[in-house]
């Protein structure tokens, strides 16, 4: 049976054409023959090991496990299709990343950070791709929709969870800016700033400080 389980999972994973969760794999079996989740997990491990030198591998993404063609083969496999894979505009990617890192977020909040209006088309595209969905409405006038990313978004970008997104750059603290400014203003009338070396030094200091001070903020960010 242990051997059969591995093969059943291999077959199901390939037939499904989409990620399968452990729960869904369990439902391939009738109750009386159903393996435990631990048995399934052990079998999944074997399934993964069995692709060691194959052109595909078993990966885990947000909605479960899937066989996936190895990235190293993309040069060749990509030639199966004439069309280039869809390219998304910077505006779309910026909007998507704001939703990913700042969810739930309203369109107004996105616009505030980006400094420009978010076109309806972008939101529509993101919703149609099922990368983004409305998770509620903010309790402010107009009750704007709040957007969040979906499991499909994670699947599509090969991620298990939002934690796996590349970390956001840290923000340098502004505290020392006012100090610098005071100095600067004392040399009244002088428009030009300090020498390049000096500013580089200031930069180093400020980022070190930021690392220390900005830690809590950063953590909050990740929530």
């Amino acid at each position: 049976m242990a051997e059969g389980l591995v093969q059943i999972l291999e077959g199901a994973l390939l037939a499904a054409g989409e990620p399968l969760s452990v729960q869904r794999m369990a439902l391939l079996f009738e109750e009386q023959e159903r393996p435990s989740n631990d048995e399934i997990r052990a079998a999944i491990k074997t399934v993964g090991e069995r692709c060691d030198d194959r052109g595909y591998e078993l990966v885990q993404v947000a909605s479960g496990f899937r066989f996936q063609v190895r990235q190293s083969l993309s040069t060749w496999v990509g030639r199966l299709w004439q069309e280039r894979p869809a390219r998304y505009s910077r505006a779309l990617m910026e909007t998507l990343s704001l939703i990913a890192y700042r969810q739930p977020i309203t369109r107004g909040e996105i616009e505030e950070i980006r400094g420009v209006a978010v076109s309806t088309n972008i939101v529509k595209t993101l919703m149609e791709r099922e990368w983004v969905r409305v998770v509620g409405h903010r309790d402010v006038p107009g009750r704007p929709a709040m957007y969040a990313t979906t499991r499909q978004f994670l699947d599509y970008f090969n991620l298990k969870s939002l934690d796996q997104l590349p970390p956001l750059a840290e923000i340098k603290e502004l505290d020392n800016l006012s100090g610098e400014l005071a100095l600067e203003l004392r040399d009244a009338g002088q428009n030009e700033r300090s020498e390049p070396d000096e500013s580089a030094e200031g930069k180093a200091v400020s980022s070190a400080e930021a690392e220390e001070r900005g830690h809590d903020e950063e953590d909050a960010e990740k929530q």
Binding site: Y56, Q68, V116, L174, G202, K203
Partner: protein, 263 residues
């Protein structure tokens, strides 16, 4: 009315006019539209100007940046671009910061007043983070671009829709509802009969289904005991009453035969 090339703005770096235009800052007029399209708005343009001059955001010289920014905005105007409100708003904000920085301070002890640049710097930093995040996201291996979902043809399948499961309580609920609707609670008829009688009625009818006469006694099963006999008898009475069966006795004390009425 396209501006001449000579009218193109020269970059100002750290207070000095650059005599030679850096290649990456020089924008041929024909390319301006494309150039501006490449920006995601005023913050993006501002960031570009700062980065092109290798300035730290924390270290921006508002005066110079404003000047450069205004030149671009003027250019847009000159090109009769539909000037985005966002660009104008940013220009106004830059002008305001510039003017505040020119004003003398009340005293050098006090500096609780926030740096007028602070808000702009904060916005620029915040925007830059997400600009970077978008770039990082773009780099992630993506389905249908670097990786593909592997799939194979399924075997032949005989899909059957499983039959619905029901709970006895659902049957009861349905009955109580239908009875309530029919206002049949008062019916003695239903209450008097035990279900075993009705069940037996069905059984007797099933036995009689073949159509011929069946000996009355063969319907009784002694192994069921007295109660079973009574139930069968009641079932027969009910069947006769409902004229579902025919009962025939050819002579007094002779064998009784039963036949389904309709068969």
């Amino acid at each position: 009315m396209r501006p001449e090339q000579a009218e193109m703005p020269f970059a100002m770096v750290r207070g000095e006019a650059v005599t030679e235009l850096p290649k990456d800052l020089y924008i041929p007029p024909q390319a301006l539209e494309v150039f501006l399209d490449a920006f995601e708005g005023p913050l993006d343009l501002l960031l570009y100007l700062i980065r092109r001059q290798n300035l730290d955001i924390l270290d921006i010289d508002v005066a110079q940046i404003t000047e450069q920014y205004m030149r671009y905005v003027e250019l847009m105007d000159a090109m009769q671009f539909e000037l985005a409100a966002e660009y104008l708003l940013m220009a106004a904000m830059l002008a305001e910061i510039k003017s505040r920085m020119l004003l003398p301070r009340a005293g050098d002890v006090e500096d609780e007043e926030e740096d007028p640049r602070a808000n702009l710097v904060r916005r620029l930093q915040e925007y830059e983070r997400f600009k970077k995040a978008a770039e990082d996201l773009e780099e992630l291996p993506r389905l249908e671009r670097e990786v593909w979902q592997a799939s194979a043809a399924p075997p032949d399948l005989h899909l059957e829709r499983p039959l619905p499961d029901i709970d006895m309580r659902e049957v009861l609920l349905a009955l109580s509802e239908v009875l309530r609707r029919a206002e049949m609670y008062a019916s003695h008829h239903i209450q008097r009969e035990s279900l075993s009688t009705r069940e037996r009625m069905s059984e007797v009818l099933e036995t009689l289904k073949s159509g011929g006469f069946v000996p009355f006694v063969s319907l009784f099963r002694p192994e069921e005991g007295r109660l079973g006999v009574v139930v069968t008898f009641l079932a027969l009475m009910e069947l006769i009453k409902e004229s579902l069966v025919e009962i025939v006795q050819t002579e007094g004390f002779g064998p009784i035969h039963i036949k389904a009425k309709s068969e």
